[in-house]
């Protein structure tokens, strides 16, 4: 039986990933995309194969999340076997609003394990990545927010399609009065092949250069743990560039954790790294439990030596 699946996002790339994903988990799906506040995203959804596309045109000063009431109404009218929302921060908020409006269950930042007739089963990390929760739905319309990069991003093609319907979004009660971009938000940690993450064991901001050199040698980028991005006395990295729960979730081939004890809030963001190398002066630091390779010692001796030996090995 053909299933009705909705994919919802404010970003075209994420709509494309979800459309691709739906085709993988369901051979016979009628896909409806909702592109929130971005016409370009609607065209991408059309280009990569959504059967029906709603482009929600926002009122001036209205945030993306304002779309939830009209969106819930459309979903109720047209029906859905599954609703997927890309789990950006806006997406997660919208998903919760939508689920409340639909009186539906919502699995946040989850993976679809099963999608059969009348049944959706999801898995998601809880306790900062220490455990996995498996859930099913009792509600008629299961809502799932899906982390970006859950599925491969297809080649992005834009298409002008008659399947795109424009909806003028009612302004909500929240008014956007300003916006600031993060400095240097161009580093795409989610797509990095290698990452060198530094924690509080690093003493000075000037030392970051050393880690950049190491990252450059392995074809990667630098990142940090939450305190290094956000705590007073640090703030060495742009906001929002830390790895971990409430931060970024990455899956590089090679991940160096330097001078971080390996608290689960950090590990939650790098658990999908293929190879994890931990460097810490404390032998009992939990990072070593989660490392493929670990070096116990002073990072100021180890990292320069690593740089030297990797150069020699190349």
């Amino acid at each position: 039986m053909q299933k009705k699946v909705w994919v919802i996002s404010e970003q075209g790339e994420l709509l494309a990933e979800m459309i691709n994903g739906v085709k993988l988990i369901c051979t016979d799906a009628a896909i409806t995309a909702a592109a929130l506040g971005c016409e370009h995203a609607a065209k991408i959804a059309a280009g990569v194969g959504a059967g029906k596309i709603y482009y929600f045109k926002l009122s001036e000063g209205s945030p993306v999340e304002a779309a939830y009431i009209q969106l819930a109404q459309l979903i109720k009218n047209e029906g859905a076997d599954l609703v997927l929302v890309a789990a950006t921060k806006r997406g997660k908020t919208l998903a919760a609003l939508l689920a409340a409006e639909l009186e539906s269950g919502l699995a946040s930042e989850a993976k679809i394990e099963e999608f059969t007739d009348g049944s959706v089963k999801t898995s998601r990390f809880v306790y900062g990545g220490l455990a996995i929760s498996i859930d099913t739905f009792a509600s008629a319309i299961p809502v799932v927010s899906v982390p970006p990069r859950t599925w491969e991003r297809p080649v992005l093609v834009e298409a002008d399609s008659p399947a795109i319907t424009e909806i003028i979004c009612d302004p909500g009660h929240v008014k956007v009065i300003g916006q600031k971009s993060h400095e240097c938000s161009t580093v795409n940690l989610e797509e990095a092949e290698a990452i060198v993450t530094i924690g509080r064991g690093v003493k000075n901001k000037e030392d970051v250069a050393m880690f950049e050199e190491l990252a450059g040698l392995i074809g990667g980028v630098t990142a940090c743990t939450r305190p290094v991005a956000e705590e007073d006395g640090y703030r060495w990295f742009p906001e929002g560039s830390y790895i971990g729960i409430s931060g970024r979730t990455v899956k590089p081939k090679l991940y160096f954790s330097v001078g971080s004890s390996g608290q689960i809030q950090h590990l939650a963001g790098c658990r999908d790294a293929k190879i994890l190398v931990g460097i810490n002066k404390n032998e009992d630091a939990p990072i070593f439990e989660s490392s493929d390779y670990g070096i116990v010692g002073d990072l100021y001796q180890i990292v320069p030596e690593l740089i030297k030996q990797i150069k020699a090995a190349k």
Binding site: L130, V176, A194, G240, L276, S291, I295, I310
Partner: protein
């Protein structure tokens, strides 16, 4: 002005251990705590109280064990504590938690601002704030790392994936806060001693005019099991030159460098 700070009493995830064979989660040695970002929510409520005239109500719902949290919440500066006691709320669907909290907020009455953490340290579902807003018929502003009250208006900075968004909204409103909105203060001895004298209300679902069966749970948990990532755990110590050469050799062999 009346402010409600909602919080969840959770097991400290740092104390949890996974049995690698059975993958079961050992919780017996774990201490309880007020969820990390919820402490920021309480702190933000107290800061608003210090800057404006306000009453702060700390609110939680959960099994009997969660009652112990009220003193902590009051020591942090809240004026009154509300605890909705129901064993069936342990591990509840966030939709159920939100329904209980919404009813309690209506019971507290005349509230202008409800603060929650962006997500709880245990399940980090990030649903309760937005769901509460829908149930109360209020707007919500999520992932907030700065708030400014100007009369009946709130100006908030939201920390989103690629930048900050500044929004303006009329009260009443639900706000969820990030971990870096403030640095929660450690209660003083005097505050801890004084907490016991503040009003604490323990209510049952019946006092909120509902029962567990009436509260619809739509997400059904099947299992929670330890996530064991298989790592090689080859740890080198001693001479840094030797240790590094072992690791570099291994990485070359793996084909990662």
């Amino acid at each position: 002005m009346r402010i409600v700070a909602c919080y969840k009493y959770v097991l400290d995830e740092q104390d949890l251990r996974v049995n690698p064979e059975t993958k079961s989660l050992a919780t017996d040695r774990a201490a309880w705590k007020i969820s990390d970002y919820d402490r920021n929510a309480i702190e933000e409520a107290i800061r608003k109280k210090e800057a404006h005239e306000a009453m702060v109500f700390a609110l939680t719902a959960g099994p009997a064990a969660a009652k112990a949290s009220l003193k902590d919440a009051l020591a942090r500066g809240s004026d009154e504590g509300y605890f909705i006691q129901e064993d069936g709320l342990s591990g509840a669907d966030p939709a159920v938690t939100a329904q209980v909290l919404a009813r309690a907020i209506q019971k507290i009455g005349d509230c202008d601002l409800v603060l929650c953490g962006e997500g709880a340290s245990d399940d980090y579902a990030q649903q309760v704030g937005p769901r509460l807003a829908v149930l109360l018929g209020w707007p919500v502003v999520t992932y907030v790392n700065k708030t400014e009250l100007e009369g009946q208006k709130l100006v908030a900075e939201r920390k989103l994936d690629n930048g900050t968004e500044i929004v303006e909204v009329e009260l009443p409103v639900v706000v969820t806060v990030t971990g870096d909105i403030n640095q929660p203060r450690i209660p003083s001895l005097k505050q801890i001693m004084g907490a016991g004298k503040k009003p604490m209300h323990t209510l049952a679902l019946a006092d909120l005019g509902t029962t567990l069966d009436q509260l619809k749970s739509n997400l059904v948990n099947q299992s929670v099991k330890g996530a064991v990532v298989d790592r090689k755990r080859q740890i080198f110590k001693g001479d840094p030159v030797e240790a590094v050469s072992q690791v570099v050799a291994a990485l070359v062999k793996e084909g990662t460098i």
